[in-house]
Every structure is written in C-alpha cells, then in structure tokens.
Symmetry: C2
Subunit: 221 residues, 2 copies
C-alpha cells in the first residue's frame, strides 16, 4: 500500500492536454463510436499521435494494437484523473464585464464547475443578482467559501485588486485560482494558479502577424 501512495507523477504539459482529449472523446462518444486510434485522437486534439500515446500511458491506458482505445473506458479514466466525477463549486470575484460574462457562461456548469458564489468589492453591486446568483460583498468571501465548500476561485478584478483578492481566497481555504487579471499573483506553495490574459494572446498573434505583413520592415533587420 505504501508503495502506491505516490502514483506516477503526470507531467504538467500532459495534464494541460487531457481536457483536449476529453473533449475529443466526448465528440466521438456522441457519434456512438466505440474505439479510436491514437492517430485519430491526435488529429482531433491537434497534437501528434506519439504524444497522445505517451500522455495516456501515464495513467495506464495503452490501447489495443490495430484496434485503438476503448472510447467509453478512456473517457471514464480521463474524467477520474481530472477529478471530474463530481461537481466543483466555484466563486467568481470581480463582476465587471468579464466577470459577469463568466458568471453567465454556460460552458462552466455544463462541465461540472458550478458557480456557487459571486463577489464584488463595490457596495452598489452587493445584493444584485447576476444570472440568478446574488452578489456578495468582499467581506463575505470566507463565509461563502465555507458554506459551499468552494475550492476553486476565479479572479476577474482589475489588475490592482487581484493580489488582495488572491490573499483573501487563500486565507479562506481556496487552493486553486483561475486568474484573468493581467498581473502575476504571488501565492503560498501548494496553491495552483492558472492564468488567462486575453490581451497577451492578442499580442502573441500580433507578433506573428507583424512578420507576415509584406509592407513592414523587420525591426531586427
């Protein structure tokens, strides 16, 4: 038993690809297809087949030569590994345009991430409802987290407020944070942070776009 208490560590990059496989497998399952080759799965997920095989091998899925992977079984395995066998109550802090959109976004609850609480520091917003959920003041974050056993916090505040909100989340017992504020958060070890910076994504696109616009000179030329 002791030897099993530390299962094989799954690399971060593999973890990040599991949602892609999950989505692809769900599409395939919806078409009542029973097995899938690593080549097909790789194609659907937009990665290469060797990577798919390696990624799935981390949790003991090897498929059957000439047949592929059993779609239903692999779905169950990936859902288990990702912890998607139960719902995850979430709280969104910061209800500007982005926060409100996230609160209304159907794609979260569909996939088991239920918005259990909404919080905003603006006293005028407290007591109003977004998508049927009452907005609580920032002071009640801890109470909400305990009441709904929230372990995932979403930060959609302006950059200047994000660290304070992250500190309050960690203090309240949240250990997984999805940060949309354009700033780097510092949190104690053991807290997982994922960040989504929308404008950065556009800046990365503009890098490549700049290089293909024929009229432009290369800045490094």
């Amino acid at each position: 038993m002791a030897g099993n208490s530390h299962p094989v560590a799954i690399p971060e990059a593999t973890v990040a690809r599991l949602p892609l496989y999950l989505r692809s497998l769900q599409d395939v399952a919806n078409e009542s297809i029973a097995t899938i080759s690593s080549v097909r799965l790789a194609d659907m997920a937009g990665v290469n087949a060797a990577k798919v095989r390696k990624d799935l091998s981390y949790f003991g899925s090897y498929g059957t030569r000439g047949v592929g992977y059993d779609v239903k079984y692999l779905l169950v395995q990936i859902r288990n590994v990702l912890g998607l066998t139960h719902d995850w109550p979430c709280v969104i802090v910061g209800l500007g345009n982005l926060g409100q959109a996230l609160a209304k976004y159907g794609g979260f609850s569909e996939r088991g991430f239920v918005i259990a609480g909404l919080v905003d520091a603006d006293p005028d917003k407290a007591g109003t409802k977004v998508n049927g959920i009452v907005v609580s003041p920032l002071e009640e974050l801890g109470k909400l987290v305990r009441k709904f056993e929230i372990s995932i916090g979403v930060i959609s505040t302006p950059a200047g407020a994000a660290q304070d909100v992250a500190d309050r989340m960690v203090e309240a017992g949240i250990s997984s944070i999805l940060n949309f504020a354009p700033t780097v958060l510092s949190c104690p070890p053991g807290v997982s942070i994922r960040k989504v910076d929308l404008a950065s994504e556009l800046q990365i696109l503009s890098f490549y776009q700049e290089r293909r616009t024929p009229a432009k000179e290369q800045a490094t030329g």
Copy 2:
C-alpha cells in the same frame, strides 16, 4: 542586406513570455525606475532569471553587468518585436455572453487591439449595437475585413459554428485567429491560431485540486 532578411527566429515559448515582460516593464516605467535586473524582471513576470536573459538575447538585448536593462529601451524593443507600434483592428464573431463581454472589455483597445467590427449569425442581432459598435450579419464579414483592414479575428461562437467562421475569416484574408470556442480549428498553413478554452483551465485546476483533497482516494492508486 540579404543576410539580414531572415532575422534569428524567436522560439514560440519566448514569444509567449514577451507580453509578461512587457507588462512588468510598463509597471516599472510607471514608477519612473530607469533600470531593471533580470532577477527583478523574472520575479515580476513569474519566470526564472536565466530564461529572461536568454529570451531577451534573441533580439539583442543583453543588459549591462551590475546595472541591468534600460527599462525604456527594452520597452521600445519588446513593443517593436511584438508589432505593437501601431493599432491592430480586430473583428469579434459570435456575440453571446462571452463575445459581448469581449466587445466591452477595455483591456483590448488599451493595448492597441481596436474592435473594428462585430459579427453575429443571428439576424435578430444584426443592426443592434454592443459598446457602440453595430453588429453586422455573417455575410458581411468579408466586407468588414476589407473596409477596416482587419488582420485579427476573434471567434466566440458555440463550438459547432467555429470552423465555418474560421473558414470565412481565412477566406476574407484574416491570418491570425483567437479562438474561444471549445473546439480544435483546422486552418491552412500560415494562419496563426491561439486558443483560450475557459473550461479546460478549470479542468486543469481540478486535476491538482483532486490530488490535494485529503478525503479522496487516488484514482491511479
């Protein structure tokens, strides 16, 4: 001259970190600080110092030993490299909750990504305004792209509609796409695609969260 026409290729991972450095340098510049060490910049951007030095060396920035990098000069360099010396007109296709939030999101235009057009396939939405911009029908995408010289397209449609929209964008001459729809797009070579899948980010967090919840058994045990 011919030798300079192909500048040193900057690795994709480096390009993805440049927006982080840019943001950190902007914060430092706002405090009127003239120079910054790689250690400090690394700390602000949430990467390690050796990576910062390597990343910046790709476009010839080496800093000065014991002094660091000139903040203003490095800002100019990174803005140049990222193609941020001029505005980039963008179009958003798909004006559900997320698309509307993106249309209203101040962080895009602040950083030079000006929303020049909004498009939705729903005839009831055509002609309405979001954030002061008229929503055009899908059929007018090409016209909009030509009129405003749009090179960046944002897709915030449901998954099922995204590939058709991407095809129409590419046909209209767009070669950079930011995709929020939870699906893998297939586009011709030469088209850059960045994807943001909000629910996937939460699934990655739930992976780590599941592993730290003490009451749960490891699925792989």
